[in-house]
């Protein structure tokens, strides 16, 4: 457990201050559009990290909850005709988050009965179940025809801004939750589960409760991001709202930046999303970015297995203490023949 350091707070203030000013400094629509997706993925990766990075339970099914959030907003504001649109869908987001989180509790409770590797497959299955539901609950989702949301009545010149700030808001919420949890008792419990779940059970850590809470928080934010996304892109289809690639992207970003760290997923998203969107913008939309994803993933696994942030902070720590760089993994290696500390005979 850790206290908030002044540099940590300062860093967050500077970054979020800069993000708040961003659309005024760079008002061009295409730039704000890229920024919206960057924030969305930063939020998704950060939310995913809360479970995957902290507890080691790698979910491949988070897009299911993204889709649920997207459809929740879409259905609420088309069919049920809550009336009007404007900013209302944004105000409904907290409710979406809470409902998604609550609904996920029994799902998490069942899915988390299995250990890490199986969990990834179970969540992936969940994703396809939700996608099938989106296809088949025709009266709610219009199936493959897609569902249109009421057009937002925003001024054309600053059309993107409300969406930008909505994404920023949800991302900030996910980020600060992650930050808080990391330094709390819950964070400690999750990390002990990641390191050795059986042993954690043996020292009184209530592992199921901790995992379910992390799961619910994680997918709650994911659902909220899905809601903003749906309202922004206006027309949602099952295969895009519940898209495995959304999860893959978020997971990749968390790995790149450093899963289990507070800033890692954000750093990963801020590198990958603009790069990918810029390429798509310049080279025209194509599926080539999938190839890019695959290569980035291979490169991370080979050269930065722990991600950017842990590698940098290790390097800095070693420079400060004047030790030479050790090969990666030295820290986690098997018992070394060091002299036991404080064991003077």
């Amino acid at each position: 457990m850790s206290r908030l350091t002044r540099t940590g707070v300062l860093r967050a203030v500077v970054v979020f201050g800069a993000l708040a000013a961003f659309p005024f400094v760079f008002p061009a629509q295409w730039i704000v559009n890229i920024a919206i997706f960057t924030l969305m993925y930063a939020g998704l990766a950060t939310a995913w990290n809360l479970l995957g990075g902290f507890s080691g339970y790698l979910s491949l099914g988070h897009a299911a909850f993204f889709g649920v959030g997207a459809y929740a907003i879409a259905i609420a504001f088309t069919h049920i005709g809550i009336g009007g649109s404007g900013y209302k869908p944004f105000f409904a987001l907290p409710l979406v988050g809470i409902v998604v989180a609550l609904v996920s509790v029994p799902i998490a409770w069942v899915a988390l009965r299995v250990r890490a590797a199986t969990f990834a497959i179970v969540t992936l299955t969940l994703l396809f179940v939700v996608q099938q539901l989106a296809f088949n609950l025709h009266h709610l989702t219009h199936g493959s025809q897609g569902l249109a949301l009421p057009p937002p009545p925003f001024d054309v010149s600053t059309f993107e801004q409300p969406f930008y700030f909505a994404m920023l808001g949800v991302f900030a919420l996910a980020f600060f939750t992650c930050w808080w949890v990391k330094g709390s008792k819950l964070g400690l419990m999750l990390f002990s589960i990641r390191d050795d779940e059986d042993r954690a059970r043996g020292v009184g850590v209530r592992v199921t409760g901790a995992k379910v809470i992390a799961f619910a928080l994680s997918v709650g934010f994911t659902g909220m991001l899905g809601g903003v996304w749906a309202y922004y892109i206006q027309f949602i289809y099952p295969q895009f709202a519940v898209d495995p690639l959304i999860t893959i992207g978020a997971v990749l970003m968390a790995f790149l930046g450093g899963k289990g760290t507070v800033w890692g997923p954000t750093v990963g998203a801020f590198i990958l999303v603009p790069a990918q969107q810029y390429m798509a913008y310049k080279l025209g939309a194509s599926e080539l970015y999938l190839l890019g994803y695959a290569s980035v993933f291979l490169l991370i696994m080979l050269f930065l297995p722990r991600g950017i942030i842990p590698s940098i902070s290790d390097h800095l720590a070693r420079r400060r203490s004047g030790r030479p760089d050790e090969p990666p993994g030295a820290v986690a290696s098997a018992p070394r023949a060091t002299l036991p500390g404080g064991m003077a005979p």
Partner: protein
């Protein structure tokens, strides 16, 4: 002082067709340092796993502190005062030593989002680290420790739950002689403070000078329970060890 703290009766576990533990029965009295010995593969670790809820038993009963443990569960047992260490010395490598200890403090749910360890708990963790000679490493990740240090840390960690009964699985295996002495000293001190121990140990000299009574397992069944001197000269025990 001879109230039964842990009672085991008819405990059985089969892997495939082979019975690893076969109708094992014994008891650990409060205030003792009881040894559980037996040749390799006689089912000691498996018995520990069943008692502490890591492995469901095929049959048999376990009582702890006068109550039947219907469905043993490691977390609940820890909170009730029964805890164990592992033969392989398991710690949380990514957590610092201090965090390894503080995560083992049983706290109610409402403290879940608290960022600061209560001063009293922190004090206890620091005291324990000091007692185990690990205080200089308090802020280092446990992954950096040597095997022997991990054993010490694991031992210290389970004490955070203020247990009544500690099960140690081969606490001195693979540990240098100086550290063996240190572990023995800790067991004696904690015992003097009222803790009860059940120890699986292969070092017979240590068993004979530290433990009383001694329980002997062979082929998953208890073949003898008694004071060390008596066990040492027991025909069946000698046969078991000599393999005749």
């Amino acid at each position: 002082m001879s109230a039964t703290l842990l009672g085991v009766s008819g405990l059985t576990k089969r892997f495939g067709g082979v019975a690893a533990v076969n109708g094992c029965s014994f008891q650990v009295d409060e205030g003792t340092i009881t040894a559980l010995i037996g040749p390799n593969g006689s089912g000691k670790t498996t018995a520990f796993n069943m008692i502490t809820g890591y492995l469901p038993a095929d049959s048999g009963e376990v009582t702890f502190a006068g109550r039947a443990v219907k469905r043993p569960n490691p977390t609940r047992l820890y909170r009730a005062g029964l805890t164990r260490t592992f033969q392989q010395a398991r710690v949380f490598p990514g957590l610092t030593l201090l965090e390894n200890l503080t995560v083992a403090i049983s706290q109610p749910w409402r403290t879940l989002l608290r960022r600061n360890v209560a001063a009293r708990d922190r004090e206890r963790a620091l005291t324990l680290l000091e007692e185990f000679g690990l205080e200089r490493l308090g802020d280092r990740p446990a992954g950096e420790l040597s095997f022997g240090q991990r054993k010490l840390l694991e031992f210290a960690t389970v004490l955070m739950g203020e247990p009544r009964l500690v099960l140690l699985d081969e606490p001195t295996a693979g540990v240098n002689p100086v550290m063996v002495e240190q572990i023995e000293r800790h067991v004696r001190e904690l015992h003097a403070r009222g803790l009860t121990f059940l120890i699986v140990e292969h070092d017979m000299h240590l068993v004979m000078r530290l433990c009383n009574p001694v329980i002997v397992l062979d082929g998953g069944a208890t073949i003898k329970q008694g004071p060390p001197a008596e066990v040492q000269s027991d025909r069946a025990v000698l046969d078991a060890y000599l393999g005749t």
